[in-house]
C-alpha cells in the first residue's frame, strides 16, 4: 500500500446546529453516547491502518485541540498525529486549510493524501477506496453516496460517466441531475494536489474550497473518479438531522456498527463503575459508562455521567454528559446539552406547538427548576438559570434566554 497521510478538516462552524454548536466545534459534538462526531472519522483511519493523521482546526480551535489531545492520550495508536491550526488569522476555505499546511504534506513522505470531513458520521475502510483509486489510475478520487430523492440541495452533487469517471460537479443545486453526493472524502496523488492548491491559492476570485474550486478544476484537467459508498453515512447538518441520526442508532435497521465489529475510539476519559444500585428500567437505549438510571429510560441515548432519578421517565431523547433528571420528571423528544439539570416534577417536551418542529432543546448548563413544564419545540438557551423561568410553564415553541451575538473568529 502506498504511504497515505490523512488530513481531517475539523474547523467548521456548524452554523445550522443552533445552540448545540454555539460554544462547541461541530466535530466535538457528542454522538452515540460516549463518542464525538470526529471519533468516527478518526476511528476509520485507525481501522484502515492509516497511522499518519493531521487534524486541521480553526473555529473554537482551543476547544477542539483540547479534545484531540485527550483523544490521542486515550488512543496513542497513530504513529504520527498532529493538530494544525492556521498560521495566522483563519483558513479561507477547506482548500486553503490544506494549502497552508503544504510544507507538512511535502515533509510527510506520503504519496497519497486523504482529505476527510471531520463532521460526518460513517464507517468506511479507506483501503478499499485506495485500491479503487490505484486501479482507476486516478489523480483524485471522491467518495460519493447515493441520496434519497429531495436531498440533493444540501450537498455537492457529482456527475459520472464511464467507469465512474467524474464529468461534473454541482454545489447544492436546487434541481440536481444526479443523486450522487460528495461525502467530503477526497483521495489525491500528492503532487497533483499540491499543484492544484498552488494554482487555486494564486486565484484571488477562488472560494478556496474543495467542492467549489479544486474538484471541478481537477475533473476538467485529469482523471478524477467517484468511489461509490453504500453503507452508513450521515452528514449531520442540522439539529433535526442530528436528532434523527441519533434516534436512527436505536433502530434495528441501523447499519452503523456499535457492537465492536468496527472498533470506535473515543477521547472520553473512562469513568469508574458507579456503585449506586441500578433499580431502574432501560429499553432500547444506549447508556454510557458512569450513568445512573433509577427511573425509566426508553429509546434514548445517554452520554457519560447522566443521572435519571427515581420515578423519572426519559423517552426518545438525547442526554449529553452529566445531565440530571430529577425525581418524578418526564422528558420526551428532547436534546439536553452537557450539564443540564432538570429539577423534580418537571414535564419537558410536551404539547402541540403548531410549528411541526418537535424537538425541545435545552442548552449547555441550563437549570430547569422543580415543578416546571417546558413545552414541545422550546429552545432554552445555554446557561439559563431558575430565575429565568418566571411562570413555571414555557409554552410550546417558545425560546427562553438571550441569543448570543455571533461568536468572534478567535
Amino acid at each position: 500500500m502506498k504511504k497515505v497521510v490523512a488530513m481531517i478538516l475539523a474547523g467548521g462552524r456548524g452554523k445550522r446546529m443552533d445552540i448545540l454548536c454555539h460554544a462547541r466545534p461541530k466535530p466535538a459534538l457528542p454522538f452515540g453516547g460516549r463518542f464525538r462526531v470526529i471519533d468516527y472519522t478518526l476511528s476509520n483511519c485507525l481501522n484502515s491502518r492509516i497511522d499518519s493523521i493531521a487534524v486541521l482546526v480553526d473555529h473554537l480551535r482551543e476547544e477542539m485541540a483540547r479534545y484531540l489531545t485527550d483523544w490521542y492520550g486515550q488512543n496513542s495508536r497513530p504513529r504520527f498525529f498532529r493538530i494544525l491550526p492556521p498560521g495566522s488569522g483563519s483558513y479561507r476555505g477547506t482548500a486553503d486549510a490544506v494549502y497552508q499546511n503544504r510544507h507538512f504534506l511535502e515533509r510527510s513522505g506520503a504519496e497519497l493524501v486523504l482529505v476527510l470531513a471531520g463532521d460526518h458520521v460513517y464507517q468506511m475502510d479507506y483501503r478499499q477506496m485506495l485500491a479503487f483509486h490505484q486501479k482507476s489510475k486516478a489523480v483524485a478520487t471522491v467518495g460519493v453516496a447515493p441520496l434519497p430523492p429531495g436531498e440533493a440541495h444540501r450537498f455537492g452533487i457529482v456527475h459520472t460517466g464511464e467507469h465512474g469517471r467524474i464529468t461534473g460537479f454541482e454545489e447544492k443545486p436546487r434541481f440536481a441531475r444526479s443523486n450522487l453526493a460528495s461525502m467530503g472524502i477526497y483521495l489525491f496523488n500528492k503532487e497533483a494536489l499540491l499543484q492544484h492548491l498552488a494554482e487555486d491559492a494564486a486565484n484571488p476570485d477562488s472560494p478556496h474550497d474543495f467542492g467549489y474550486a479544486i474538484m471541478p478544476n481537477m475533473s476538467r484537467a485529469g482523471r478524477v473518479f467517484a468511489y461509490q459508498f453504500k453503507d452508513y453515512w450521515q452528514d449531520i447538518g442540522t439539529t433535526e438531522a442530528y436528532y434523527e441520526a441519533s434516534m436512527g442508532l436505536l433502530s434495528s435497521r441501523s447499519t452503523l456498527k456499535m457492537d465492536g465489529q468496527w472498533q470506535l475510539f473515543s477521547g472520553d476519559t473512562l469513568r469508574s463503575v458507579v456503585s449506586e444500585p441500578q433499580v431502574g428500567t432501560v429499553l432500547n437505549s444506549i447508556i454510557s459508562p458512569g450513568c445512573v438510571v433509577r427511573g425509566r429510560v426508553e429509546n434514548s441515548i445517554l452520554s457519560p455521567g447522566v443521572w435519571v432519578d427515581d420515578q423519572a421517565v426519559v423517552r426518545n431523547s438525547v442526554l449529553m454528559d452529566n445531565v440530571s433528571v430529577g425525581f418524578h420528571s418526564v422528558v420526551e423528544q428532547t436534546i439536553a446539552d452537557e450539564d443540564v439539570q432538570i429539577g423534580s416534577y418537571c414535564f419537558i417536551g410536551f404539547g402541540d406547538n403548531g410549528t411541526g418542529r418537535g424537538i425541545t432543546l435545552l442548552g449547555e448548563g441550563v437549570t430547569v427548576p422543580p415543578h416546571t413544564a417546558v413545552g414541545r419545540g422550546c429552545t432554552i438557551l445555554p446557561g439559563v438559570k431558575p430565575d429565568d423561568f418566571t411562570a413555571g410553564a414555557v409554552l410550546p415553541g417558545r425560546v427562553i434566554g438571550k441569543r448570543e451575538r455571533a461568536l468572534p473568529m478567535f
Binding site: 418524578h328 418526564v330 414535564f347 410536551f350 404539547g351 415543578h371 413545552g375 413555571g392 410550546p396
Partner: protein, 80 residues
Amino acid sequence: MNTAVYILLTLVDRRNGDAVRLLRDRPGVVRLDVLEGQPDLIVLFEAADRMELAECVSQALATLDNDISDLRLLVGRNDS
C-alpha cells in the same frame, strides 16, 4: 386511570373565570376548583400513564398562553 397530578396555578390579574372556561373541558381534567387567595386555581388531571398525563397538562397550560404567573405540579402517588 392510574396517574394523577394536582396543578396549583396563580394567574396574572386573577383571570380565574377565563382560565376555568379554558380548562374545564380539556382532556385529562377531572376536577377544577377556584381557591380563596393564592394560588388561584387547583386542577386535578388524570391519565392512563405518565406520558399521556404530561401531554394533557402541557396542552392545557398552552391554552392559558401568557396568563400563568406561577405554577406547581404536585404528582399524585401511584399505588396501583
